[in-house]
């Protein structure tokens, strides 16, 4: 199990860096709070429409805060070619990829939990917290999809001279199916709409498997020089 061991040590390294002040998590949280305020003005959210708007707003925030966070962590790896020390170490490209996916997944999930909490407080929508157990599968699988594609793409774009600015242009179109699955299933659960949430969650799982397989094969081409 050397393979997973390496991945776990990458994860641990990222958590340590985060604690020692890379602050991508706090930036993500700050952005999602800001976006909530903007959405409040833009969509005029009140008790009548909050339930139907919730899923859309939340996933837009997840996507954009996620882009910010993932772009930042991969830029940090690119800076001073820090990732090269990993390339030349016995850690394989695959376990490096899995480690980065796990750390991105962790930070995204933390950001999402806080965003849900902010949302419940700011818009007086406690229902979303009480429904959390049912929302969790979609939330987790959607975020996993984000992280699987985002880790690969943020490494791609960080090599470009446009840097992380380029990330959304490449990442968003590819990740559309995941966003679609996340938004729709969450909307169905929140508004007690008929049928389909289970099917979407299964679909998300299938997408995740597909993205995982493709990215795992292709990641070594981004790392190798």
């Amino acid at each position: 199990m050397k393979f997973m061991g390496h991945a776990i040590s990458i994860l641990r390294k990222d958590i340590l860096l985060e604690i020692r002040g890379r602050e991508s998590l706090s930036l993500m949280l700050f952005l999602s709070l800001l976006l909530l305020v903007i959405f409040n003005f833009a969509l005029d959210i009140d008790i009548d429409n909050v339930s139907s708007l919730a899923s859309g707003i939340l996933w837009v925030i997840f996507v954009f805060s996620g882009i910010l966070g993932m772009g930042r962590t991969s830029m940090a790896e690119r800076d001073e070619e820090a990732y090269l020390s990993i390339v030349f170490s016995p850690v394989s490209a695959e376990s490096f990829y899995i480690g980065k996916v796990l750390s991105n997944l962790l930070f995204l999930l933390i950001m999402e939990c806080f965003t849900l909490l902010f949302f419940a407080i700011l818009f007086d929508f406690e229902k979303i917290i009480s429904l959390l157990p049912q929302l969790l599968p979609a939330l987790f699988l959607g975020t996993l999809g984000f992280s699987l594609v985002g880790t690969l793409f943020s490494f791609l774009t960080s090599a470009s001279r446009y840097g992380e600015v380029l990330l959304p242009f490449l990442y968003l179109p590819v990740v559309v199916p995941v966003i679609l699955g996340g938004v729709t299933s969450m909307d169905i659960i929140l508004n007690d709409k008929v049928g389909g949430a289970d099917k979407w969650i299964q679909l998300l799982a299938v997408f995740d498997v597909l993205y995982f397989a493709i990215s795992l094969i292709l990641f070594r081409y981004i790392i190798e020089e």
Binding site: L180, W200, L203, I214, L218
Partner: protein, 224 residues
């Protein structure tokens, strides 16, 4: 030059195919009863779409071949096909929109097929954004091959997801579907014509890309 000969042959083939295609579409194909003459846009639209699909398949295959062989010629082939794919899919979106207006009474509808085409278009425009931002030739080839592969595999995924999404909402648009035998034959011919056009455009652009490459190498030599 071998490429030159291919281009010449294809050019003369097209000189025959294109007028014949026009003749078939406007004279031989019967007028559709409900939509009238506007339905003739359909022959053009579907044909360009198959051309675009061919081009994107070309990107996918060349990208795989590049990662396998590491020969820069495959990268040039991939980039060339991507450019033609973007051109053709832009035309697909425009002609589709022009067709939708008289037939469905809207310029745009969030139909799964339209949505997939649009997302496809975004992916390959992104492909060129990435290319323009990386200076190192080999790295550029390597990274864009990754996008070329993921983008292509993503197409059926997007298609499936959007189809599922729409199946929850009522479907507004449905294709008539009922093409009569003559129409089907005209369609087939038109698709063939555009496949040849796509291949022609590919070789035409490919020749240019190769010569650009040669110029750059020569320039470097001059500087040394």
């Amino acid at each position: 030059m071998k490429t030159n000969r291919v281009i010449t042959i294809l050019f003369f083939l097209l000189l025959v195919l294109i007028p014949l295609d026009f003749f078939l579409i406007f004279k031989v194909a019967p007028t559709e009863k409900v939509m009238g003459d506007v339905q003739r846009i359909f022959y053009l639209h579907v044909s360009i779409a198959s051309g675009a699909l061919l081009a994107f398949t070309g990107v996918f295959l060349s990208s795989i071949l590049f990662l396998w062989t590491k020969k820069i010629a495959w990268d040039i082939a991939a980039c060339t096909s991507a450019e033609i794919g973007v051109l053709l899919s832009t035309l697909v979106l425009i002609t589709g929109s022009i067709w939708a207006r008289p037939v469905w009474n809207v310029w745009w509808t969030w139909d799964p097929r339209l949505l997939t085409t649009l997302i496809l278009w975004f992916i390959y425009v992104g492909y060129f954004l990435l290319r323009s931002g990386i200076a190192d030739k080999f790295r550029k080839a390597q990274y864009s091959a990754v996008i070329g592969i993921i983008g292509f595999i993503d197409i059926p995924i997007v298609r499936y997801a959007t189809k599922w999404w729409k199946s929850i909402h009522p479907l507004l648009t449905q294709n008539g579907g009922g093409l009569n035998p003559v129409m089907k034959k005209v369609m087939l011919f038109s698709i063939t014509t555009f496949v040849v056009i796509t291949i022609f455009l590919f070789f035409f652009r490919f020749r240019l890309a190769r010569i650009e490459e040669r110029l750059q190498i020569l320039k470097k030599k001059m500087e040394d």
